[in-house]
């Protein structure tokens, strides 16, 4: 059961080199204003800050777990900023950058990892579904949602996120079929960070992942996942295509998970530091920073202000997190069903009586 080795084809759409040089791509032109460029950089910085802060808070015991987005900020901000109002994103558990772009309060995301909630925001309000932890389950849901958009004749699209590991799940592949057969307005956004916990990409595929789409009859594109401009350009185009009725597409954002899988993981068991180092040179923030600098689109004040904003954000997260109320047992009973449920009501009553019993016992 030896695994055949294969050369990874890493040609991919790039609009900004790791050195911060803008390159043109005839297939994926991108019109972006200076303001937008600065805004993208701000997103990247703040998303990274949220991530770093959450990681620290986990170490301090304030979160049960944290799934770092470190290294994948460009992929997520590029995709997230390509979505427009009325679009719907379906995330995994690592889409903190997309959540940010969709206006979800980072605290709501942190609440998931603190254990105060399993949801925490309104999918409808933000165009951002709940985090999905069972790998791949969100994909057929996104297709269903997109079928609904089609049915409503809405000019919108759904975008569904998943990882390289997830590409092996039956549900993910079924969703390719449905999207294709129903020509649903859905864009599949695969962040190939080259690891599924401890398993390398080769354990999930022997050809580049974007080529998976070829087997299902829709376009697949690989994009430099550490290049926010390329991710934005490709996502915009594929989303627009979908909104206009041209059907699904698969985007593979080729990137790298700089952090551990989660704070519970120990990547030293399975990967080399030198790999991580090599990818550090392709950092998604650095290249934008250096581009903005070289193009003189920013000055020191910009960075100083952003630093400030970032500090404020971190502070508000720390404070906000500790202030997050614990969920109540009443909510648990109340939310199991939308309509009255005799068994749950009985259990609720009994448990309330049981708790009240303690109160009486402990009464002076």
């Amino acid at each position: 059961m030896a695994i055949p080795t294969h050369a990874v084809d890493d040609t991919c759409v790039q609009l900004l080199t790791p050195e911060g040089e803008r390159v043109a791509n005839a297939d994926f032109p991108l019109d972006v204003s200076d303001d937008e460029l600065r805004a993208l950089y701000r997103d990247l910085v703040l998303v990274r800050r949220v991530d770093a802060e959450a990681t620290a808070l986990q170490r301090q015991g304030e979160l049960g777990l944290w799934a770092q987005v470190l290294g994948q900020e460009a992929a997520q901000v590029g995709a997230g900023r390509a979505l427009v109002s009325g679009d719907m994103a379906f995330p995994t558990y690592r889409e903190h950058g997309v959540a940010w772009c969709r206006g979800v309060d980072p605290l709501a995301v942190l609440g998931l990892f603190r254990g105060t909630t399993n949801g925490g925001w309104s999918p409808e309000e933000h165009g951002f579904a709940h985090y999905t932890i069972v790998i791949g389950d969100q994909c057929p849901q996104a297709v269903g949602y997109a079928m609904g958009m089609q049915h409503d004749a809405a000019e919108n699209a759904a975008m569904v996120f998943f990882g390289d590991g997830a590409s092996s799940q039956g549900d993910v592949n079924e969703s390719f079929i449905w999207a294709s057969v129903f020509n649903a307005p859905v864009v599949f956004f695969c962040q190939n960070n080259q690891w599924a916990i401890s398993e390398p990409l080769e354990r999930q595929t022997r050809i580049p992942l974007f080529q998976r789409a070829w087997g299902f009859g829709f376009p697949g594109v690989r994009v430099d996942g550490n290049d926010v401009l390329a991710c934005l350009a490709v996502s915009r185009q594929m989303l627009q295509r979908a909104r206009e009725g041209a059907g699904p597409a698969l985007i593979e954002a080729f990137t790298y998970r700089m952090g551990a899988h989660t704070t519970s993981d120990d990547p030293t068991r399975y990967r080399l530091d030198t790999d991580v180092e090599a990818w550090r040179l392709r950092d998604p923030l650095e290249r934008v920073r250096s581009f903005l600098h070289k193009q003189q689109l920013v000055d020191d004040a910009f960075f100083a202000e952003l630093d400030d904003e970032s500090e404020q954000l971190a502070l508000s997260l720390r404070d906000g997190l500790r202030a997050l109320p614990d969920p109540s047992i009443d909510d648990l009973f109340a939310n199991a069903y939308a309509e009255p449920h005799s068994l749950v009501e009985r259990q609720h009553d009994e448990f309330a009586r049981y708790l009240a019993g303690f109160a009486i016992e402990n009464a002076p």
Binding site: G119, E124, P140, G144, Y145, D171, E174, A336, E339, S342
Partner: protein
């Protein structure tokens, strides 16, 4: 507006009413369109409501459920058909991990008005995987509701109630009763809420609890026992989750004895739950332990053996006799 309808037709009429009532109601499944379903339960609906509302899907049950969940998030009210009981396991994850948990996960923000219909049970001489009784899996799953009709009238109303519910409902159709007929007033309002059981025959000596396909068997058993001077009260559960315990308990308090019958394996079958909760509630009233009649703890046998596997009138009466003999 009374018509003589088979159970299959009654469900068909119920689906039709639901489609007429709410433009957000959609049907999805394999072969439900032109073919009208392998049991013809959706016969004519695609013709009348179009391919946009009665959707033949790719052959992928997990995605049927997944897509239904997405459509529900978008404001639709999907009714999905799984072609047979033994094929629903392919979709189990979407049902248990997603459909059942979404409302709680979202703290009530996202409703899942999805109905999962499928035929279940044995007795039609089918091949493997086509005679399963998976109801206990669903009933044990918090977040789901599970209902099953035993007759055309209930079938007509229950399917509409299931669709109207804002919770996910597994609607189990007792396939060997698809051809049972009854007078159905398709203009009438349902007689009972979705979650309630019904005493379908009054009696004084023992309470016989059942649901779906076995209700008719139990009624036949009760009729036969009458000749021997035994008066059996038959309760049709109708809703398996939640259970309408009150109706069952009221009956057991009167009779002092209880037998539960179903096709599924008795080990952790619905009868285990009924026995456990009835005993807890009626400990001092019970003259004998709640007895259970059901499938053996073996995979469903090849069809030439199913008459031995399925509890029949004799096995039900044997349990009644044992209950009375205590």
């Amino acid at each position: 507006m009374t018509e003589t309808l088979t159970m299959g037709r009654a469900i068909n009429q119920g689906l039709r009413c639901a489609l007429e009532r709410d433009p957000k109601t959609l049907l999805m499944g394999e072969d439900i369109g032109r073919l009208g379903g392998v049991f013809r339960v959706t016969d004519g609906l695609q013709k009348d409501f179009g391919e946009q509302r009665v959707i033949d899907t790719p052959l992928a049950e997990s995605s049927i459920l997944g897509a239904a969940i997405g459509l529900a998030m978008r404001g639709y009210r999907p009714v999905v058909e799984i072609q047979f009981d033994g094929l629903v396991y392919v979709a189990f994850d979407q049902i248990v991990s997603q459909l059942a948990k979404m409302h709680a996960r979202s703290a009530g923000r996202v409703r899942m008005p999805v109905t999962v219909r499928h035929p279940y049970g044995g007795g039609i001489g089918a091949v493997e995987h086509h005679s399963e009784s998976p109801e206990a899996y669903f009933a044990h799953t918090a977040g789901l509701r599970v209902v099953t009709p035993s007759n055309p009238v209930d079938a007509f109303h229950l399917v509409q109630q299931a669709i109207a519910s804002d919770d996910p409902v597994v609607f189990l159709e007792p396939k060997r009763r698809y051809w049972d007929k009854a007078e159905v007033d398709v203009g009438s309002a349902p007689g009972l809420p979705m979650g309630s059981a019904r005493v379908v025959r009054s009696g004084t000596d023992v309470t016989l609890v059942s649901y779906g396909p076995m209700v008719r068997t139990c009624l036949e058993a009760a009729a036969a026992a009458e000749g021997d001077g035994t008066s059996i009260e038959v309760v049709d559960l109708r809703s398996l989750a939640p259970l309408d315990l009150k109706t069952v308990i009221d009956s057991v308090r009167r009779t002092g004895r209880c037998v539960v019958a179903h096709e599924a394996s008795v080990f952790l079958g619905m009868s285990a739950e009924v026995a456990a909760s009835v005993t807890e509630e009626c400990f001092y009233e019970l003259e004998s332990p709640v007895l259970r009649v059901g499938g053996f703890h073996t995979p469903y046998p090849p069809s030439r053996l199913e008459h031995h596997y399925l509890p029949d009138l004799d096995r039900v009466l044997d349990a009644v006799d044992r209950s009375l003999a205590y």
